[in-house]
Every structure is written in structure tokens, then in C-alpha cells.
């Protein structure tokens, strides 16, 4: 509109300037007439517009509403690209890496006194290394289900499905059903992804009793009570694909768990959650290798029942509930495990075996562990944290050793060394935004018997793409 008026004006000037040359031209009157008509046309159009503007202003109340509706519809429509791609799920990518130094070889890492959990529990390798990159894809499937996939791209160029589950949206009455592979709801830290942990690695109790974390294949049913106090009860049936179970190759579930959490607020500044969980698995031939007294590898395997209890609590404080400037988080969990069954000791696979036989006898253990950690954000972007870890060897009854007919305690250096692992860790991290974090972590790790491993880790965590959720 404005443009065409400018054009008209320019046209008028141009023709006006050309006029004297054709002063006597009989066409002149014609052009003048046309110009006059043009001007009149524009004037009447401008008047019409002004009139319409006034009318609109007069009826602003109603018009505003409908206009707003139309505008917002247009605005909403423009938010996502049109077409098939508009349904693309939310995608985010987590990239991580470490620069590490440790006084002991990370490859020799073990938690003396505790059966190996098979997870990736060793400290990060020395020097610069890439850690797992996580690709997270999630979206609503339809009005009834939601889908979520987390794939880890390992630095060894492999891929690993960490989570791939569906979750119901419409069961109602507080029920949610989840199925597929997912981080179990037991304990507190188990459900939190590694990149969101407050320390670079898992607490010793998680490393020793759950291989870092439990992400079995199975189903989970959860119920939230309609009460003011947060009450959540859940149960899971699993394939027992991972420690402490073993894959059973049968239809029935190999592991099941029960958990309950309660939580709430104390005033505006404090929020808390506490829980109790129970995990039951029945491993068969859960095998690992351990050198005997002659330092040659022997296969040991456990079959029986494994029962794990976890008590967890977390408390968060922020002045007035505003965590942007300063906040504090206190978190602790206590693990207690009972295993009863039989232990097999087999050195027949060796070229020069000490016994050349397979021994099998009753085995039971009562072991426990806990950690307590506090993280304080003392100013925007900066947090400092301290964690104390402890495992208690407890009591282990090994029928093979007791019988005195074959291997002695010295042939079971891992299981029969009464060692109470300990670790102290401190960290300082800096998060320019909620999408980036750099962390320095120092640890004095006494997981191995008689050895102190001093570790220094510098870590980066970056997240790209869709905005992640702030899990409590």
C-alpha cells in the first residue's frame, strides 16, 4: 500500500518534470486528467481506510478478541514446520568426555570382597578420552502412549540401547505402565541418567550391587496416591538381563522389584523425598573369573537367590525455593544384600590346573554399603560437592572353603578377602548455562584391598537440542 503510493508519487514527479517539453502536446490534458483521477482514487482509498480504522477502534472490544484468536492460531501454526516433519520427535544429544589421571591402572579396578557386577564400573581411562554420547529421542505416540529412546554411542564405536520404552498417558487414577528397557525406579539415583549425576561416576554401592545402575528389560507399574503427601508405589518384572540376575531363557520373569517413595515440601525452601526398595533376582551360573593362589584364572559362578534392599532419601534446599542463585542438595542411600545359594569353583579349563576339578557348595553372603553426598551451589553457575562412600564386607559363608577338601580362602582372593572399601570424592563444577557443564573431581578410592587409588578427573558435559527435564 505504502509502496504503491510512493510509486504513484514518483510517477507523478517524473511525468510532472517531463511536462514542459510537451507543453503544447494535445496529450498533455489527457495525462493531467489521468493524474487527477489517480490522485482522487488514492485519496478516496485512504479515506476509506481511515474510516475503517476508526470503525475498528470503536468496536475494539469484540474485534480484539477475535483478532487475537486468529493471530494466536496463526502464531501457534507457525511454531512448527508444516508437513510430515512437524511430527518429528524431540531429539537431544549429550556429549561427554574426560581428562583423567589415576595413580593405579583403571584396567585393574575391582571392588575387593564383592562379586564383580559386570557393569562399567572402572574409573575413566587415563588421559583424554571420549565418554558415552547419548542420543535421546522422545515423543507422544498417540493420545494413549509416549515413547522414549536413549541410545549410547560408546567411545569404542559401538551402540548400546540404554532405554527404549513406552509409557501410558491415559490409564488414569494415578497409574502409569511402562514397558521395554528402562532405568529401574528402585533407589534414588538409579533413575537419573549419568550425565545428570552430581559426580562423574556412580557411588560404590551402585557399582558393587547394581553394576552402576539397573536397566533391565521388563514392565513397570506405578501408582501415585491422590494425597497431599507424595506417595508413589511401584513394581517391576524383569528379564534379569543384567546383574544381579542372569538371563534365564524362560518365559517367567527372572527378577522383580517393589518400591515406594514418599515426599513433599517443608515450607517454601525445602523439598524432600524418601524411599524403600526391594529387588529380588534368581541368578543361575552367574560367572566371573578370579585368579587362584597360583595366579591362574579360575571360573567361579553363583546360583541362588539375591535380595537387595535400598533405603534412599534426598533433600533439597533453596532460599525461598529459588534455586537460581544458591541451593543445597543432600542425598544418601543405604544398600543391604543377601545372597543364598551355591558357589561353583572350576579350574578344569586351565592347562596346568591346581585341582583339575569342579567344586560346588553352599554359599551365602550378607553385605551392605552406603553413601552420603552434599552438593552446594554457592553462586550462580558454581557448585561444590563432597561424597563419602563405604561398603561393608559383612559375613560370607563359603562351603567350599569350610569343607577343607579343596580350594582355600587364598584361592578366592576377590570373594574371601574381608575388605571394607571406602572412597572420598570432592568435585567442583561450573555450568555456564543449563546446557553445558565442566567438572573437576578428585577422589581417594580404596576399592581395592590395601591400595589407595588417587584419581583426578576433568569432565565436560554438553547437551544439544530439545530442552531436558529438571528431574527432582
Amino acid at each position: 500500500m505504502v509502496r504503491s503510493m510512493w510509486f504513484a508519487a514518483a510517477f507523478a514527479v517524473a511525468t510532472g518534470a517531463a511536462l514542459p517539453a510537451h507543453a503544447q502536446d494535445p496529450e498533455l490534458t489527457k495525462i493531467r486528467e489521468e493524474l487527477r483521477q489517480l490522485r482522487e482514487a488514492y485519496e478516496s482509498r485512504i479515506q476509506a481506510l481511515e474510516r475503517r480504522l476508526q470503525e475498528t477502534e470503536a468496536t475494539a472490544g469484540k474485534a480484539e478478541q477475535s483478532a487475537a484468536k486468529a493471530e494466536s492460531a496463526a502464531a501457534q501454526a507457525g511454531v512448527r514446520p508444516a508437513g510430515e516433519n512437524a511430527f518429528n520427535p524431540a531429539i537431544s544429544l549429550i556429549m561427554q568426555g574426560t581428562l583423567a589421571r589415576s595413580s593405579r591402572d583403571p584396567a585393574s579396578y575391582r571392588i575387593t570382597g564383592f562379586a564383580p557386577s559386570g557393569g562399567e564400573v572402572a574409573p575413566p581411562g587415563r588421559g583424554l578420552s571420549l565418554a558415552e554420547s547419548e542420543l535421546v529421542i522422545s515423543a507422544s505416540i498417540d493420545p494413549y502412549f509416549r515413547g522414549h529412546l536413549v541410545v549410547a554411542l560408546t567411545p569404542e564405536n559401538g551402540t548400546e540401547v540404554e532405554e527404549a520404552f513406552f509409557q501410558t498417558l491415559a490409564l488414569g487414577r494415578g497409574f502409569t505402565l511402562k514397558g521395554g528397557r528402562f532405568l529401574s525406579g528402585i533407589g534414588y539415583q538409579n533413575e537419573i541418567h549419568q550425565h545428570a549425576w552430581d559426580f562423574q561416576d556412580a557411588p560404590l554401592a551402585y557399582k558393587g550391587f547394581l553394576g552402576g545402575r539397573l536397566n533391565d528389560d521388563g514392565v513397570q507399574l506405578k501408582w501415585v496416591a491422590p494425597t497431599e503427601l507424595f506417595v508413589e508405589l511401584g513394581t517391576e518384572l524383569g528379564r534379569a538381563r543384567v546383574f544381579p540376575g542372569t538371563d534365564r531363557n524362560r518365559t517367567a520373569a527372572g527378577a522383580w522389584s517393589l518400591f515406594g517413595h514418599i515426599g513433599g515440601d517443608v515450607g517454601a525452601s525445602t523439598a524432600w523425598r524418601a524411599g524403600l526398595s526391594y529387588l529380588r533376582a534368581s541368578p543361575r551360573e552367574r560367572a566371573f573369573e578370579d585368579p587362584d593362589s597360583l595366579r591362574s584364572a579360575v571360573t567361579q559362578s553363583f546360583s541362588g537367590k539375591s535380595r537387595l534392599w535400598i533405603a534412599d532419601f534426598v533433600l533439597k534446599w533453596a532460599p525461598g525455593g529459588n534455586a537460581s542463585a544458591t541451593n543445597f542438595k543432600l542425598q544418601g542411600e543405604y544398600f543391604r544384600r543377601r545372597e543364598d545359594g551355591t558357589l561353583a569353583y572350576d579350574d578344569t579349563a586351565q592347562a596346568a590346573p591346581q585341582f583339575g576339578a569342579r567344586f560346588e557348595s553352599a554359599y551365602s553372603s550378607r553385605q551392605s554399603g552406603w553413601y552420603l553426598q552434599g552438593v552446594y551451589q554457592f553462586m550462580p553457575r558454581w557448585r561444590i560437592g563432597y561424597r563419602h562412600d563405604r561398603l561393608d564386607y559383612g559375613t560370607v559363608a563359603n562351603g567350599i572353603v569350610v569343607s577343607g577338601l579343596g580350594p582355600t580362602a587364598a584361592d578366592f582372593p576377590l570373594l574371601m578377602t574381608a575388605h571394607n572399601p571406602k572412597r572420598n570424592s570432592a568435585m567442583l563444577d561450573w555450568s555456564p548455562t543449563e546446557f553445558s557443564r565442566l567438572r573437576l573431581q578428585l577422589a581417594s578410592d580404596k576399592s581395592r584391598f590395601g591400595v589407595t587409588d588417587n584419581q583426578v578427573v576433568l569432565q565436560y558435559i554438553f547437551s544439544l537440542g530439545a530442552h531436558g527435564a529438571h528431574r527432582f
Binding site: S72, R146, P226, E228, F230, A268, F435, L464, R471
Partner: protein, 297 residues
């Protein structure tokens, strides 16, 4: 075990005293729901004026409250993206999931401004749909009230007349008040100011003030000394008369700038509970305008 069962049964059996349980994400929409619902609505407000709505976590208490809600009234436009999706999916409440009648977004009734031409996190914490802090323009509040009143009536049909009546009464009072505020705020027209976060844009738009700059170098990033120095430089060319900040943000940067440039810094309540006078939506606007006017006199 028996007691537990009794508690569970009691929880199921207790009839809700109020007809409509409303979970409001922010204080302003909680206050509006209270205005429109009266004694027929039981409103839980998830956040306070002291909290930055971007940074809230999916606390257990929020999940428990969402579990019992018939209607979720949120701001939308990604303001609650960090915690609301998790609260909804953890609540096990089918009524309030996205797309259900029990899920209401204020932003759906309003045309958002400042929609970014480019969406890139290098530009800070930008919101794809536009600036979500839409409630400080009273005309937007009227639009949201109209839509929310209709939604409440459609969910609780038995009391539809009650909500319609209260909505009309509220809108009548609100229009009157808006006319009064517009008259009062006339001296603010053209007032150049510096903001903390871009959470005042709708207020600035409505009153005709002029934003000279913001203390945040980019949305969501805290003020840095370098950026403040640059701002002081810029203000020599284009001076601002006041610097404003919201109740939930730290006053430090604003006070620093005020000190360096000799202009007053003004705390604005931003939402209900942000100041003693901001007890409801009317008080919020009364107080906001009064605080701004006090600086131009």
C-alpha cells in the same frame, strides 16, 4: 497394613469439597483461576513470585498435586518446559495430559510477541513460540480470562453458569480497571528503561515505554561485568531513565547499573506475591504502575 489400606480407601472415598481442583503453574494464573472459580474451585499454585519459572524442578509435591487436579492452568509457550512435562507424565492423571480438556495454556489465547527469527541456543535461552511472559499486559489477562472461564465451564458443566457469571463480572471489573490504569500510566509513555530479563516486554508494549537494553547479555544468561560496562557506554548515547528488575531476579546487577549511571532501580513484583500490594491481579497492576510512576514524578 490395615491402616495403610484404610488410608488408601479414605483417600479414594473423600469427596472433593470444591468442585474443581486446579493446578496452576504460576501465581498470576492461579489468582485468575481463583477469581473465576470462586468457592467452586480449589486452586493449588505450583510456583511463587520468588521463583524463576524457568528453573523449577519436578518436585514430589508438584507431582502429588497434579495427580489430584482436574485442570492444569499453565502459561505455556515453553515457560514450564523444564518441569511440567515430567510432572504430567509422572502424575498418572489422564485428565490433564497435553491435548486433554484438563490442560489449559494461557499462551493459546494470546498473540505472542518477539518470536525469534532464528532459533539457536547461541542466542541464549530463546523461546521458539515467542516471549512467554505475557501477563503484564492487562488486555492479555482479559483474553486469558475469557478462554479460561469457558474452559472451566466446559469441564465442570454442572456449574457452568457459576463460572460464566463470575467470568463476566471479572471482565467488567477488569475493563474498568484497565481503562483506569491506561489513564494513570499515560506519563510512562516513551519512558526509556533498562530491564533485567525480557520479562517486561508486554508491559512495555502496553504502556508505550521504550526498552533501551537488558542486563542479561542474552536471555537466561546472568549479567557479566563486560556486558554491564557496554550497557553503561550505550546509555551515554541513549540514556535510560530507570532500570527495572523482577522480584525473583537478583537486584545486584540492577543496583550496580543504577549506581554507575545515577538512575533509580525499581523492583517490580512481576506476579502475585511479588510485593505486599500484589495480592491479586488488580493489586499487581496497581502496584506495578505505582512503582513506575513514582520514578517519573
Amino acid at each position: 497394613m490395615k491402616t495403610l489400606l484404610a488410608v488408601v480407601l479414605a483417600a479414594f472415598a473423600t469427596p472433593a469439597l470444591a468442585a474443581l481442583n486446579i493446578f496452576a503453574c504460576t501465581p498470576e494464573w492461579g489468582s485468575l483461576a481463583r477469581e473465576l472459580g470462586g468457592d467452586k474451585a480449589n486452586v493449588y499454585t505450583a510456583t511463587t513470585a520468588l521463583q524463576d519459572a524457568h528453573r523449577v524442578e519436578a518436585r514430589p509435591s508438584l507431582i502429588a498435586a497434579a495427580r489430584r487436579a482436574d485442570l492444569v492452568v499453565c502459561n505455556g509457550a515453553e515457560l514450564e518446559i523444564g518441569w511440567l512435562p515430567l510432572v504430567l507424565s509422572q502424575s498418572g492423571n489422564a485428565k490433564i495430559q497435553t491435548g486433554q480438556p484438563g490442560y489449559f495454556e494461557a499462551a493459546s489465547a494470546v498473540a505472542l510477541i518477539e518470536r525469534p527469527a532464528r532459533v539457536d541456543r547461541a542466542l541464549g535461552d530463546v523461546h521458539v513460540a515467542g516471549n512467554p511472559h505475557l501477563h503484564l499486559d492487562p488486555r492479555n489477562v482479559a483474553r486469558v480470562a475469557q478462554a479460561l472461564g469457558e474452559r472451566m465451564a466446559s469441564i465442570d458443566r454442572a456449574e457452568a453458569g457459576h463460572y460464566a457469571g463470575r467470568t463476566k463480572a471479572f471482565l467488567d471489573r477488569w475493563r474498568e480497571a484497565t481503562a483506569r490504569w491506561e489513564k494513570e500510566a499515560a506519563p510512562l509513555k516513551g519512558l526509556p528503561l533498562v530491564v533485567y530479563h525480557r520479562d517486561m516486554s508486554y508491559l512495555i508494549n502496553w504502556t508505550g515505554m521504550r526498552e533501551v537494553g537488558s542486563l542479561e547479555p542474552k536471555p537466561g544468561l546472568p549479567a557479566t561485568p563486560g556486558h554491564l560496562a557496554e550497557l553503561v557506554e550505550r546509555m551515554k548515547r541513549d540514556p535510560a531513565k530507570i532500570v527495572v528488575y523482577s522480584r525473583y531476579s537478583s537486584p545486584r546487577a540492577a543496583e550496580f547499573l543504577a549506581e554507575r549511571t545515577g538512575i533509580p532501580s525499581v523492583m517490580l513484583p512481576f506476579t502475585i506475591g511479588g510485593s505486599d500490594r500484589a495480592k491479586d491481579l488488580f493489586g499487581l497492576f496497581d502496584d506495578t504502575i505505582a512503582r513506575l510512576l513514582a520514578t517519573v514524578k
